[in-house]
Amino acid sequence: MNVSHNELEGICRKAFQGIGFSEGDAADAADMVAWMEVHGLGGIAALKKGVHFLLKEGESQPPSIIYQDADVTVLDAHGNSILGNASLALELGYVRARARGLSVTKIRHCHNRILVIGYLSRLARRGMNVTAFWRNAHDPLTELVVGFRAGHPIPDLCFYSLEAVPDDIEKNDGITLVMANHVDLMPGLRSSQPLTNLIQHSEPDLVARKAQLLTAGMEVDDDLWKTLKSLADRLLVEATEDSRSGAGAGTNDND
């Protein structure tokens, strides 16, 4: 079905609250999904992939800090989705960068990482340069680099696969964020390795995509919508004869 941005964000917010997210986490998570979708970056597809994990996770909790100093923070998300957990970890990186000029934040053991881009947009709007990097799988090994310039809520983004796979057995389920107060961090694509399957989105591409999707609406498959709706319905109170009077209106308005 075709939905508007506001509808998508609204149903996601209610569904996440229905799962058990706090009001703030639900609003952030919904914003992340809708932000990605309206910029043509697959927010709905990512949510569809992650929604069943979310149902198992229930109430949202921030990642736990396993190492921190003034410049570097390492957190463990315990295999949870970035949706319900990441925002405070990102805010921690933001605070460190504000204080020290530059910070590095690593969040280990999380999934749905692509959706983090929606929240990073907010940090960029608040004047922070942000670069996020992660690897997706081993076969093929893919890397995603996203960079926001301070004051620009729309990023540049590159996604590519590497032909030569390094001898590394560590699972790729973390994300690394570098934030800087005053310096644009977005790298040029100057890898020494051959880059294949390159997908690159520039800021103007994403702005145009947003305008187009706001005009045409966005497609959500019926099953996902039904799932979200049933989760959202958890917030509704069953009607009774008494509750009908709680709206304070009559039932017939002929006059």
Partner: protein, 576 residues
Amino acid sequence: MNHSAEHLADPELRPARCVMNLVRLGSFHASRLSFTRSLVRQMAREHWSVTRARFDLDDDGHGVAIYRLDTPHNRYHGVVFSQALDPEKRSDRVIAEAWDVTFAIVEGEVDDRLLEQMAANVPLQEAGRQNPRLLVLSRANKSLRNFGDFVDALASGRQPDPAWLTRVGYLYRTTAVYGNGKFGIADYARLQQSPDFRRPFSAQMFAVYLLRHFSIEQVNHIAAMRAPDVAVPLAPALQRYLGIGNSTGLGMAPFLINHPRLIQQWVYCREWALAHARQRRPDAASRQRLLDLMHRVQRHFEQTVTEDEAQTRRNRETVAALTQSIGWLERTPANATLWTDLLDWVATQGSLEAEELINTLLIELYPDLIDAVEDNLGCDDQLDLQPEMRVSALKQLIESRYGWALDYDPDDPNHHYWFWYRSAEKEEPRLGVRAEERGAEKEMPVAIGPRVYRTHQLLGEFLALAPNASVVEFLMAHPHQKECVRRIQTLAQTPYGEIQANLWHRDMKPMHLLRTKLSFFGASRFDPKSDRWVRVTLFQGAPLLDELGGQWPVGGRRLAELDDWSFPVEPQAGAL
């Protein structure tokens, strides 16, 4: 003109503890800044043209009508579906499933394919899936008595009694006017760049205005079909005196809480205009203009009919205070402090409604002030965290800006008497008594006062353990506080935005919340049907389409005349 530190320091702005008091907000009236007034000015200034593109109604007025709107920038269409409705199904509540008319505003052209899709979905309203080219979706029910009486009168060749419109000022009342992406229609984000509808709710207000035009054409059509040789069209003076009703319940209340930056902007613009109006030097002409307006408003309130005892009492008090104020102003010559002296004097009369009326009329005197702010009523609605703030600073911020919230007493059952929730019946917002009804565990978090109280408590405990901690560290320990904290941090930068009332309190009157929003819409004739359900009238007295579209020079006296339609009074029989 967004709020800013320099404006915060403006000594003439009234303090938030006065303005954002819920009872005072519930005494606000429609003003020159209201969305209906603003829209009509824009339509007049830009010579918006509305023409009939299709009018396929049967003898009973049922069928399809399509109107074409041309602005200097774009073309739109208004599509109205009118149907016969079983009286048993006529309900103004959101749980209704059928209405007398359903309608929509469409961006661009309406071809057969789109019309077919709309015919299958617009009459279903919430149960349909709407096209993204629709900007507004709405529905309305007839005032049966007025409608029948009007058709009877016109079909027998006479004009309806103007008193009928004084009693109920419309033929149709809307029961919801949807915008911003609801049920698949266009997002407000698309309109924010539109030169025609970028102001908040302006597309919705245009839909209501167009329904008024349709109601006039429809009633004329039915009368003419019934008695082709005898029927007369509705007299222009009665067309002007005809508005569109609106029936509104608790659904409006969460909006005010969930869009605090927007509310801040609306209230701020009104207060900014008022502060500057008070500073203007009164002269004989402006004093006389105010007196003329006060006489008209007095008459308007004398003629306002409601069955609600409390509102009737308030209207009487308003009229009495206005009578006294007129006497005071007639005795007092124009001098430099006349406006502030008048406001100080009115404040001693014990009618908040009268105080806010005089404020509304003062703004009316100085059109240039409104012209300066009316394009600033919209804003980015996002709440932003300041994670680097010290916890001690956040605690102090609450104490300095949210003192009213700290009055909450968790041990007093009256302080958490109500809870707000959405019913499984079409998500209709309702109020329940916490100690007696089920569902409190699913309540909507609209009571900001108690939440801020809780945040303040937790901050105190956290501060004892970590005196130098930052807000993000507090939130890592108390992640559920994130939404409340960023709300406090965002709104503390602005003077208004937070309604200073505990919405759980037993003495809280939801009607004040509804009226706050309706006053900014431009509603008049407040007619409460209970303490949480109200009927109002929009566009009563507003210029007609053919008056707005005429070829006259932009600006100047003609525009001022067209804009002067607030607080309408019943037309004299001789004017028909």
